[in-house]
């Protein structure tokens, strides 16, 4: 395989030398409305590949373009889509004047989903082109490409996104406009989202609680599918991928079009499937880490000048094997694993997924509607119904392995109503979000006390978010009030049903400013206060958590007791200030953020005691609250040195402290320093956009990991201070490379990429992988990706 890619590389290199063509053209433009007022936040796409969002003054810049014709698509909700062909080079700044769809509604301009995010927030985007190079990876792993975003892993296939050191119930995932309601609380619960539905992934790194509610306290991940109504005829896309490490095949397909000749009514069907076997570390198989996934979705949309309606259904279904060697019965088992340095269960490669495993199904129905009201703005209505089923299978006695050890279903309903308005320099959004959730455990099926109890939850939030643009400044302020009713159905020590119920009232607020220093420089600053009541898992968890070999007790469940007094519950409150400086020059783009996040009543788990059971000693972890400070910095830079070379670097660092106990926090991502160099080749007859990228991300050792207490020493440790079962692994550097190019087929292009990850087949362990006590991380991996897009935009 490697020989083949090297051969190909030289063939391509030889071919490319014959005809040189420069690819360092710059295209600058500005997006305005018909009154020549600039439009920030418009989406500009080139040849359905590179994408950009116009900045505060409506301007945008593309660099590193090749000479020739490019098709520029500019979109902005409330305006007609603008498509223009531009012949490069162009020296002047082009002006794109968008025609309003609501010309009759004089003075009223509406805004779309994208602009619902605060302008003063620090956001990062993975474009369609970038996502193509990540196809086949789970959502959480793809997001690691963004500086400041990392992932907490349970083995090679379960990734949970971490934004600035926060994860799980503190991060909101917005899937096609609907808040993802899955079992987010568990570290080993990956987001139930098919990354193939996305044409871009966006991450909001500040607390965005005002717009989205309390679960956005640590940030928001926005999964954006392409908008409907884009195609003129039938269009679509096919992606195929192969991965050598786990011999995985992935395929995805999408078809879209209009119904009859009516371009007001359009549809899209999409599906993806993958099957992979055991992953492989540098020196051994990671037995029972296979994956299977099958997803599909369908959308039907109606749209005319003043209104629109959309129905969307999606189904996500996966089975994930958990490393067999990570299944442990007691502390001694974990001790043995740590000491041996090699998993005790290593078998030949297999596609079979045995226990322990997870089976997850997530179904979504979305109904969306909007309509414009004269001299008022746009009213949006959104309903999302979701049914999440999670089954975890364990190794059990007497044929019970066929029955899940955990089986829960979460049925949730989201209803959002919002009003967007804009008049001159002033714009804003007012809205109500409401949710209704029912979480149930099927204990007849499992025969095991569930870790979190059944619960019913109803909540409603009211928000106002207003913006004012004045010259180079954009000011933003917002506030939100939330109400939550929670009823928990749990059992006390004598197996009597207890139904504590709570009423929570809480507030969030945000202020921000964006200032355009010059044509290239931009500064944004946002301060947000957010609060959230603890999640049910933090309040009422109870029992043995198999993956961690520990007993967990919620804030309201000390030692088999069930507390019901609401006055004992303290809300977690975050005060986060984030500052970002951006530079968008001709050959250089740069993004630098610094943040400080003070969290009062931060919920975490701490060791409380050691308990003797018939399986030996177990550490008992009790949920507790403390005051924490998470601060850090992200830096990203991309420099087109000349028409051949591009250099990119990314740096992320988080420093987290439990300030109340003067202690460290566990599972905080270590510092990352990633460097890559891309070599762009001139176009040859049948090959376009040929490029070779070599990257070497360096992950530092987490020097601020909690102290290590080996499992065998736990019974003697009585300090109640946070500990980890093993010291943080050493830092490591990886070597990755990829070659990509396009082959024209008819009017369209087939994009091909060959990449290699961990080329040196290094043995390493990642601090953020919870299976690092048991096995090394994955070894060398070669990936072939083919992508053919036949949409007629």
């Amino acid at each position: 395989m490697i020989r083949f890619s090297i051969f190909l590389f030289f063939v391509l290199l030889a071919g490319s030398a014959s005809r040189a063509q420069s690819c360092n053209e710059v295209l600058r433009g500005i997006v305005t409305n018909e009154q020549d007022q600039t439009l920030p936040g418009a989406t500009i796409t080139i040849d359905a590949g590179a994408a950009s969002i116009s900045s505060d003054d409506g301007s945008f810049t593309f660099t590193g373009l090749c000479q020739g014709r490019v098709v520029l698509t500019v979109e902005y909700v409330g305006f007609e889509k603008h498509i223009q062909t531009v012949s490069l080079p162009v020296k002047r700044t082009i002006t794109i004047r968008l025609k309003s769809l609501t010309t009759e509604l004089e003075g009223v301009v509406v805004e779309g989903d994208r602009r619902m995010n605060a302008v003063s927030q620090t956001t990062s985007l993975l474009s369609k082109k970038e996502l193509e190079s990540l196809h086949g990876r789970p959502l959480g792993e793809s997001l690691k490409e963004i500086p400041g975003v990392s992932a907490i892993q349970t083995g090679p296939s379960i990734f949970k996104p971490v934004i600035h050191g926060l994860h799980s119930q503190r991060i909101l995932i917005l899937n096609n406009g609907i808040r993802q309601e899955g079992q987010q609380w568990g570290i080993e619960h990956a987001p139930e989202v098919d990354p193939y539905i996305a044409s871009s992934l966006e991450v909001v790194k500040g607390a965005e609680t005002v717009r989205y509610g309390y679960d956005a306290i640590g940030g928001v991940i926005i999964v954006n599918p392409p908008a409907l109504h884009e195609v003129e005829n039938l269009g679509g896309e096919i992606n195929v991928g192969f991965m050598s490490n786990n011999r995985m095949g992935v395929i995805s397909a999408m078809l879209e079009g209009h119904i009859a000749k009516n371009d007001k009514l359009s549809w899209r069907l999409q599906t993806s499937a993958k099957k992979g076997g055991d992953y492989h570390a540098a020196k051994y198989n990671l037995s029972n880490t296979g994956t299977q996934e099958f997803n599909f979705s369908g959308a039907l949309g109606f749209k005319d000048a003043h209104r629109g309606f959309e129905v969307y259904v999606s189904s996500f279904n996966t089975t994930l094997g958990i490393l067999r060697a990570a299944h442990t019965g007691n502390l001694q088992d974990i001790q043995t694993s740590i000491e041996s340095g090699r998993p005790w269960y290593v078998q030949d490669f297999s596609y079979t997924i045995e226990n322990p495993k997870q089976r997850i199904n997530h179904q979504l129905l979305k109904l969306k509607s909007y309509f414009d009201v004269k001299n008022f703005g746009r009213i949006n209505l959104l309903y999302g119904g979701q049914y999440n089923e999670r089954k975890e299978f364990d190794i059990r006695r007497s044929g019970r392995s066929d029955r899940p050890a955990l089986s829960m279903s979460l049925f949730s309903n989201v209803l959002d109503v919002s009003l967007d308005h804009e008049k001159g320099e002033h714009s804003g959004s007012i809205g109500i979000n409401s949710t209704l959730k029912f979480n149930k455990n099927d204990t007849d099926l499992t025969g095991i006390t569930p870790l979190i109890p059944n619960y019913n939850q109803a909540s409603a939030g009211l928000f106002v978010l207003e913006k004012l643009r004045r010259n180079r400044w954009t000011f933003e302020a917002g506030g939100r009030y939330d109400y939550q009713y929670l009823e928990v159905l749990t059992f006390n020590a004598t197996k009597e049903l207890v139904k504590p119920s709570f009423d929570f009232n809480f507030f969030s607020g945000t202020v921000g400013v964006a200032y355009k220093i010059s044509q290239q420089w931009r500064y944004i600053s946002n301060f947000g206060i957010s609060s959230r009541p603890p999640h049910v898992s933090e309040l009422y968890s109870e029992g043995l958590h198999h993956g961690t070999g520990s007993i967990e007790e919620g804030l309201m469940r000390p030692s088999n007791d069930v507390l019901t007094d609401q006055s004992l519950i303290r809300k977690e409150m975050s005060k986060k200030w984030i500052n970002t400086l951006q530079f968008g020059g001709e050959n250089l783009t740069m993004d630098f953020s610094v943040y400080y996040n003070r969290m009062d009543n931060y919920v975490f788990i701490r060791p409380y005691e050691t308990r003797l059971t018939i399986r030996g000693y177990f550490p008992v972890f009790r949920f507790d609250q403390t005051d924490a400070v998470l601060m850090g910095s992200d830096f990203g830079l991309k420099w087109d040195i000349n028409n051949r070379f591009t250099y990119a670097t990314k740096v992320s660092y988080v420093h987290a402290t439990d300030v109340k106990n003067d202690d460290k926090l566990i599972f905080i991502p270590p510092a990352l320093f990633d460097n890559s160099v891309t070599l762009n080749f001139p176009n040859v007859d049948a090959l376009e956009g040929l490029h070779l990228t070599v990257s070497a991300p360096y992950t530092f050792q987490q020097t601020r990991a909690p102290r290590a207490v080996y499992p065998e020493d736990i019974p003697n440790d009585t300090s109640n201070k946070v500990f980890d079962l093993a010291p943080a692994p050493e830092g490591f550097v990886m070597l990755n490379a990829s070659v990509g190019f396009d082959i024209p087929i008819g009017e369209k292009e087939l994009a091909i990429s060959l990449s290699g990850e961990n080329l040196l087949n290094k043995s390493y362990r990642n601090y953020m992988n919870r299976l690092r006590y048991f096995a090394d991380d994955t070894g060398r991996n070669f990936i072939v990706r083919l992508s053919y897009n036949f949409s007629n935009h």
Partner: protein, 190 residues
């Protein structure tokens, strides 16, 4: 300017979409019944080791009992008496879940899956040796039946570990797999 019919159409459209949304919320099933308490099926509350000599007499029992499983209630460990020096005892292990109104015999579950289970005995002290005497279908030891051989007087600690090794049992201790039971007993030989 917007025409009057347009306004009416817009309002009608608004009502329709609101109705559709209300319907969607309406079909969402309401709060179900109260859940029933969990019938915990895999709890082991009790381990009993009965040690009897060929010569008869009252057998010695070692017992570990934890009424609430993984709960916070402390387990109770009892050793009914001392072992005599220079004797061979026949050990029989029984496991049960006594937290139910009808106790569940776990010994039977282990015996049925003898090919996947192995008891490991670790003795600290030179005056006692414990060996499994029963065999599974592959002629590998199980340990439900064992032989306890005492020599001189003194104290010893016996750690009894039940290993669950589906498909990977080799008869070696501790071998692969997970631990289902791990209990220590202090015994005195006199």
């Amino acid at each position: 300017m917007l025409k009057k019919t347009e306004v009416i159409r817009t309002i009608r459209y608004a009502i329709y979409s609101a109705a559709a949304l209300a319907f969607a919320v309406g079909i969402s099933s309401c709060d179900g019944d109260d859940p029933a308490p969990v019938n915990e099926e895999e709890v082991i509350t009790t381990l009993n080791v009965t040690l009897a000599t060929n010569g008869g007499g009252t057998p010695v029992t070692l017992r570990f009992f934890d009424a609430d499983g993984d709960g916070s209630g402390a387990p109770v460990k009892t050793v009914s008496g001392n072992l005599a020096a220079n004797k061979t005892y026949t050990g029989v292990i029984t496991l049960s879940d006594d937290s139910k109104s009808t106790p569940v015999d776990i010994t039977e579950e282990v015996a049925e899956e003898a090919d996947d289970h192995l008891f490991c005995f670790t003795v600290t002290g030179s005056n006692l040796t414990v060996t499994a005497v029963d065999k599974d279908s592959k002629n590998l030891p199980i340990g439900l039946a064992s032989s306890w051989l005492t020599t001189s007087a003194g104290n010893a600690t016996v750690k009894i570990v039940l290993r669950h090794q589906p498909g990977t049992k080799t008869g070696q201790c501790p071998g692969t797999g997970d631990t289902d039971v791990e209990v220590d007993f202090n015994v005195t030989v006199q």
